[in-house]
Symmetry: C2
Subunit: 414 residues, 2 copies
C-alpha cells in the first residue's frame, strides 16, 4: 500500500460518553507517531461543524490537555445529531477535505455516525479524492453490531451499579416499612444499560437489589409488574426496580408518555420512573414509592469511569490511526473478546457498511424466564468491562476536567 | 465529676448520609479508650429498635468492619422515623437501659432526634437513672442550629457539584440547540443543598452552570422563572437549573404536587424536576427540556464523599464519648469554624434543648438580588467542607462497602 501523506481530521458525534474523549486522545497520540501525517485537525460539532469549516488545530493543544481528555466527560470537540441530507452536503464535505488536504478522517460515534462515515468514504472514492475513513465505536447503549461491546458501556454500568449498591444500603437501613424504589436508566431501544445493573447484586438471588429489571425488549404489563413487586416485598423490606426509559407495552407504545397530562392538558413528557412510582402508589396501599432518574448524569459520570473502558477507548483511537496509515478505509475498529478465562479485548476491523444498519438488542437467552431478571451468563460478559478505577484529579474539592483551547484553523472556503 | 462505669448505647436516626457511619466509628473507636466503658452496644433502627430491646454487640465487630464504616453509606445500625409517643415509651426506654446497664446514650441524628435525645435525658434524670446523653449531629440538609455546619452536608454538595460540572460539560458539547436541563435536589424546607451546587461554577458569572438555583426560601413564580431561562439562553447554549424538591409558590404550596394528574385522575406525586421540564417545554417553543432527579442516590453517594466531612463526622463521634465520660449530658457536639483563612473545624458542646426546636434556613443575605443565584460570600463557607477525596476500596469493579455482623445482645425484658 502506497504511503498517503496529508492531514487528519477527527470528529465526534451523537450522545457523549465518559470515554469518547479517550478515543480522541488515542487518535492524537498515535497520529504523532506517523511521518505521513502532517496536521491533526479536529472538526467541531461533528459533520455539522465540518460542513461549516469549523476546524481546530489539535497539535497545538498541550500534552497535559490531551492526557486530561482520558478522564474528561462529554465530547471535547462538541457533537451533533445532524444527518447529512443531500449529495450537496457530501460534496461540500469533500471540498472542505480538499481545501485542508484531509487524507484521513476518523469519526467517533454510534451506528448513525458509522453510516455517515461509510457514505463519506464512498463519496470520496467516487469523486477522486483519496481519503481513508475509519470509524471508532462509541455508545453507552452498547447496541453496535460486530463488536463484542462498545466503549462507553462499561463506565455507565460501573456508575449505575455503584449507585444502585449505595441506594440498596440506604433503603435497607430505613426502618420497617415497605418501600419500592424505581431507578430510571437510559436505553430507548436496547436494554443493555438496565440489564448491566444486575451486577450490583452481591449474591445472585432474588433477594438482592436490583430485584426487578424492566427492559425495552420485554413488553411491560402493569398487572404482572405489580405482582412481582408484591412477591418481592414478601421477603424484602424494599423492592428496587431498574427501568429502561424506553419501556413499552405490548403494542410498542412507550409507557411513560401516556401516563399523565399536565395542568394545561398537554400530554406529559414524564419519565418511566415517575410513572411506575405513581403506579405503585396507586395500586399498593401502604407502600412508599420513590423514584430517581439519573438522566444525562449517567453518561457523563467520569468520576466513576471504568479504567478498562478508558484504556479500550484510547486503544480504539490508536488502532484506527494505525489501520488508516496501513491503507484501510471504510472500516470501523471493533473489540473482540479473547480467551474467556483471562479477559483481554483485542481489536479488529469490520466493514462500516455492515455496522451502519444494525442494532444489537440484549440477547433473549440472557433474560430469565421471569422476564425481570438477568441470567448469570451475562455476569461473565459484563464483569471484565468494569474493572479498574480512573484517577480523576480533584482541585479544590471538585474534579478538574480539561477543555480544549480550540485554536481555529483558518477557513479557506467561502 | 464522678466516674460513671457501665455500658454505652449508640443509635442512628432519620435519613442517612454518607458519613453517619463515620460518626458511629468515632464513637466505637473512642469508647475503647475509656476503662469506665464496659460494653459497646448499638441500637437497631433507632429508638424503635431500642424499645424492642434490639441491641447488638459492637465490640464484637472486626476492626476491619469498623474502619469500613468510614466510607460506607446508609445507617449501618438501621434508622427510623419513629417519634416517641408517650411517657410509657420513655419509661420503656429507661427500662431497657436499666436492664443492660446503659450509662451512656449517643444519638446520631437531625433535629427531631436531638429533641428525642433531650427528652430521654430529662426522663432519665427524673426517674433516678444516672445516664449521660450526648447528641451527634447529622443531616445532609445542614439545617441544625448552633453548629457551623452538619456532618453529611459537605459530601452531598461535593457529589452534586461534581455531577453538575459533568452535566454542564455534556450539555455544552451538544450541538446548536437550546437546552434547558433541570436537576432536582433534596431539601424540603431549607435550600442549603441546592445553594451548595453554586460551587460547581468555574467562574462566578451568570454564564457558568448552574445558571439558575431555585430555593424553597424563595417563592416560585413561573413567569419570572421563564423570563430568567430566556435571558440565560440568549447568551448560553444551555441553561442548567437546580431546583429544591421543596420549591413552593407564594402561598406556600409545593409546586410539584399540583402539576398533574395521572390516568386514574389521582394527583401525581411527580417531582419538581419533571414539573419544571414540562413548564419549559410548554412555554418555550423550540427549546429542549430535560430533567434529572438524583433522589436518595445523593445522600448515599459514598464513592464521592468529602474526606473533610468524613473526618469531622468521625471526630464528632469521638468528642461525644469524651464529653460524656467527662460528665456532660443533655448536650450535642457542634462544629465551630476557627480562623477563616485557614479552615479547621473545632468542636464544642451546645444544649440539646436549644438545638431541638430550631431550623437554620439558608441565610437571606447569601441570596443575590436576582433570587436565583448565590453570593460569593457563600463560596468561602462551603469550599472547605468539600476538600479531600475518600479512598473507597473497590472489589471486582464495584465499591466494597461493609455490613455489620450484628451479634444480638440477649434480651432481658419481656
Amino acid at each position: 500500500m502506497q504511503e498517503l501523506t496529508g492531514n487528519i481530521l477527527v470528529a465526534q458525534s451523537g450522545g457523549p460518553t465518559t470515554v469518547i474523549n479517550a478515543s480522541l486522545a488515542g487518535v492524537i497520540n498515535e497520529a504523532l507517531n506517523h511521518e505521513c501525517i502532517e496536521e491533526i485537525y479536529g472538526g467541531l460539532n461533528g459533520i455539522e461543524g465540518i460542513l461549516n469549516e469549523n476546524l481546530i488545530d489539535l497539535a497545538a493543544e498541550s500534552q497535559q490537555t490531551v492526557r486530561g481528555l482520558c478522564y474528561t466527560p462529554a465530547s471535547a470537540l462538541g457533537t451533533c445529531r445532524y444527518k447529512i441530507k443531500s449529495d450537496a452536503d457530501y460534496a461540500r464535505f469533500i471540498d472542505v477535505c480538499k481545501a485542508h488536504n484531509i487524507r484521513y478522517f476518523f469519526y467517533i460515534g454510534g451506528n448513525d455516525s458509522q453510516d455517515t462515515a461509510n457514505k463519506i468514504a464512498r463519496f470520496a472514492e467516487n469523486n477522486d479524492w483519496e481519503m481513508r475513513v475509519v470509524g471508532i465505536p462509541k455508545t453507552i447503549d452498547n447496541d453496535l453490531v460486530l463488536t463484542d461491546h462498545c466503549p462507553g458501556y462499561g463506565s455507565v454500568v460501573k456508575y449505575l451499579a455503584t449507585t444502585i449498591r449505595e441506594l440498596a444500603l440506604d433503603h435497607e437501613s430505613m426502618g420497617n416499612h415497605d418501600l419500592v424504589s424505581i431507578v430510571e436508566v437510559m436505553g430507548r431501544n436496547a436494554g443493555w444499560i438496565a440489564a448491566g445493573t444486575t451486577i450490583a447484586k452481591r449474591r445472585n438471588t432474588f433477594g438482592d437489589a436490583p430485584h426487578i429489571i424492566l427492559l425495552p425488549e420485554v413488553a411491560f404489563n402493569a398487572d404482572y409488574f405489580i405482582a412481582q413487586v408484591e412477591e418481592c416485598l414478601k421477603n424484602n423490606k424494599f423492592c428496587l426496580v431498574v427501568a429502561s426509559e424506553g419501556l413499552a407495552d405490548e403494542n410498542g407504545n412507550y409507557v411513560a408518555a401516556a401516563s399523565a397530562r399536565d395542568s394545561f392538558g398537554h400530554s406529559q413528557l414524564g419519565g418511566v420512573g415517575e410513572y411506575l412510582q405513581n403506579l405503585v402508589a396507586t395500586r399498593l396501599a401502604g407502600v412508599k414509592a420513590r423514584s430517581c432518574k439519573l438522566g444525562h448524569a449517567q453518561r457523563a459520570a467520569s468520576h466513576c469511569s471504568s479504567a478498562t473502558d478508558v484504556e479500550e477507548a484510547f486503544r480504539c483511537g490508536q488502532e484506527a490511526v494505525k489501520a488508516a496509515v496501513a491503507g484501510e478505509s471504510g472500516v470501523m475498529v471493533a473489540l473482540v473478546r479473547g480467551d474467556a478465562d483471562k479477559y483481554k479485548a483485542e481489536t479488529t476491523l469490520v466493514n462500516l457498511e455492515d455496522v451502519a444498519n444494525g442494532v444489537k438488542h440484549f440477547p433473549a437467552e440472557w433474560i430469565n424466564d421471569d422476564k425481570v431478571s438477568i441470567s448469570q451468563q451475562f455476569n461473565k460478559y459484563i464483569l471484565p468491562l468494569l474493572q479498574g478505577e480512573v484517577k480523576v484529579p480533584f482541585e479544590n474539592g471538585l474534579p478538574a476536567y480539561v477543555r480544549l483551547q480550540k485554536n481555529m484553523v483558518e477557513k479557506k472556503l467561502s
